[in-house]
Symmetry: C2
Subunit: 444 residues, 2 copies
């Protein structure tokens, strides 16, 4: 399907409406540096200078006559010529109007990009293009990425955000002096209308383990509607990784689960003794509920690199320019990892992701930036890693091969959450193979 109709919008946005939550993201230095560098190390993408710019700059500040073909009566001058942001009103207004004059006055400044056109055709006399790019920031939040794009030289940035965070974004845009460039639009990306197509779509859409929140759907939707044919995506590529890990969390969660079941049996006895009702028939369901909660819910964790005990494997690669919703609805992969630590236990798998900023094919980034959420002591991110713990854990030795088929699907009840399944096999160097074990997890 082109879109996933099951994705919830009503409740999804709640947390993003808090400055506290935006601040958490804005305090993630790894995340911030990656976007900052992808923009400012490739500033040329946002203000791509062309020859006309020298003429444009020579004319800056002066009043110039712009000859336009005679088209009959006209009401006022704004119908004839406009700087970029005026262009819209101009085009809109012009279409219904008869043009009567033969010349107009233009005042140039360094901040605008002017072109005397009618219906996309140059009107002769003057054709200026400073080469500045138009940008769409999908889910602008506080507006930070949009402001950076403006500072990097973009001509116009459409900053779309579904929550009331737009009010704060507008304030920030203003106090940072880019209000002529950044237009904050409140609404869901799927519903807003932009006045034009854009050269670049930038977005920080990545959830835990990349796809949680399913926000990339909205980026795809934005791309298909609003990106020019040769436009660029920021980031341009994304990958999902899996590796076997060891962790004390496995034992801890098992303890918690067992103590919860002990509580339950105490509860059964009390309820029968005091209130004459036998609830034992619910034990099975309660056990399932608790198993799901303690043992089958994947966990956020910031792992130490030492906890990774096997070679990481890529399970998904996404080309942001071409990916479709169908391709990310479900992720399926076979992967294999070689254990690199001797005499240890596989507690489970960890999943993480990275994204790359490579510009577009026609206009590749001079400085390719990578944002990785792999286990790291120096550069941890707020995404951490997503940890899937096995019960029981698996004894392994260096050289063993852990193979698994992985599949991830959206949860039936909430398409912004995920369900993951591993069918996991252990092959020892001797050739001995342990029977496959299936484990299911929920990314909540």
């Amino acid at each position: 399907p082109a879109v996933d109709k099951g994705v919830d919008f009503a409740n999804y946005f709640c947390t993003y409406a808090f400055l506290f939550h935006q601040k958490e993201m804005l305090s993630d230095r790894v995340r911030m540096d990656a976007y900052y560098n992808s923009i400012f190390q490739n500033q040329i993408h946002f203000r791509n200078k062309k020859e006309t710019v020298s003429l444009y700059e020579a004319l800056a500040g002066s009043i110039v006559m712009c000859f336009v073909a005679h088209h009959g009566q006209h009401r006022n001058r704004k119908h004839y010529c406009a700087g970029y942001s005026l262009l819209r009103s101009w085009e809109n207004n012009v279409s219904g109007n008869v043009i009567s004059g033969t010349y107009i006055l233009l005042k140039f400044s360094n901040d605008c990009d002017l072109r005397c056109t009618k219906n996309g055709t140059d009107l002769g006399g003057i054709c200026l293009n400073c080469g500045k790019k138009t940008v769409l920031d999908v889910g602008t939040g506080s507006g930070i990425l949009a402001i950076w794009c403006a500072q990097a030289g973009a001509r116009k940035v459409y900053a779309v955000e579904a929550t009331k965070m737009t009010e704060h974004a507008r304030e920030l845009v203003k106090t940072n002096g880019v209000e002529d460039i950044v237009e904050v639009i409140e609404g869901s990306m799927e519903e807003v209308t932009l006045p034009e197509k854009v050269d670049i779509i930038i977005s920080e859409w990545m959830g835990y383990f990349l796809l949680r929140e399913s926000m990339f759907d909205s980026v795809i939707c934005a791309r298909d509607r609003w990106l020019k044919p040769n436009g660029a995506m920021y980031p341009s590529h994304a990958r999902m990784w899996i590796a076997p890990i060891r962790s004390g969390l496995g034992d801890q969660k098992m303890d918690e689960y067992e103590s919860s079941m002990n509580d339950w049996f105490g509860f059964l006895e009390e309820t029968e003794a005091h209130y004459g009702v036998n609830m034992n028939v619910l034990t099975k369901s309660f056990r399932e509920e608790q198993k799901k909660y303690y043992l089958q819910t994947s966990l956020w964790n910031s792992l130490h690199p030492h906890q990774v005990i096997g070679t990481p494997a890529i399970i998904k690669e996404i080309d942001c320019l071409n990916a479709t919703v169908s391709e990310i609805l479900s992720v399926k992969a076979q992967f294999s990892s070689t254990i690199t630590t001797d005499k240890t236990r596989v507690s489970g798998f960890a999943g993480w992701f990275d994204v790359h900023f490579r510009g577009s094919r026609d206009n590749p980034a001079t400085q390719e930036v990578e944002l990785t959420t792999a286990p790291s002591t120096d550069n941890p991110t707020h995404w951490g890693q997503q940890v899937f713990l096995f019960h029981p854990q698996l004894r392994v030795n260096e050289g063993d091969a852990v193979g698994a088929s992985f599949s991830m699907n959206r949860s039936k009840e909430n398409h912004r959450l995920m369900e993951v399944e591993f069918v996991c096999e252990l092959r020892q160097p001797s050739g001995k193979c342990l029977p496959a074990v299936t484990s299911k997890f929920y990314i909540e």
Copy 2:
């Protein structure tokens, strides 16, 4: 308004669908004892014996002829004679049979309540009524109250529950041998249709500080549609209480708030230094957000009775038989409390509630049961108390009078949550009066 259209149903039920949450409620001994005693100490309300019962019991097990006036042609017997709980199975069995005579056979057992009536009029010959009551349990959850009502002798219990918890309730009903009496119905109370009106409505509808969750609306709706004119409500009455308290939480929350603001200022500096964006314009909004979170959100707390430092006041009394939604949409009261401890501080107010089980006017409870959530070391409840902390706190002495006007309204965004305002004055025995202070709180 008769109903509050703003009350959310889609998300409200989430937590109740977990056995873990139901278990938390079922483990609250004070809550459980109150309902248990209200039912079993007043068992007479559920199997209210009348004179006819002796005749009924004499006939139990035997086959009796029941004369019915001849009314010409008729399709099936259900038009002529019906026992209540047998009515359905009887209808089912009989409907396929042709009854040709002018009399019918009834087989009596101890479990049924039969009455030969037509359109409510006795048909003469025999009129039996074992006096067992019909009950509606609004929001039955695990089904516990419904099962107790059945065990206490009810003829029929309709147990309505919106969540999938119905599946568990059905299992419990069955393994506890009351499946002929308790009918578990999945659906929201507002939407289900019962086959008849009931004698008793029982429900555990109380949220934090009584009205949080606004579930009493659903009980009112059930009462207006399904309770017989002389029916009874379990509980029958409810009251809300307020008292001044002292608590270390006031200082703690203030510390947390201040440290959060310190973090913010560090964040501002970093963002300016590293990323060239000045976010100071958001300080005011961030401060408000954090104030709301740390200082204006009322807290759940299980207070020690010593923490109550003034006389408690009742701010609302609800007669469950007559209350309307309009009357509980908003709670307004003036109250005054005399400080009973010398040289202390008022950290704020605590709110709690109690409910009473008094039966109905025609049929008052022989043993009136009270369920109170007042501060208590011996009988704490899972409701605890709702704590509203003042900043700054107020120095007081024994004999001072704390007066306040209180108002509570439903939150605009979520009608199951509340907003509370106190306009608070301190009068010293000398007559000296401190200026009124207004404090706003959110019950989240």
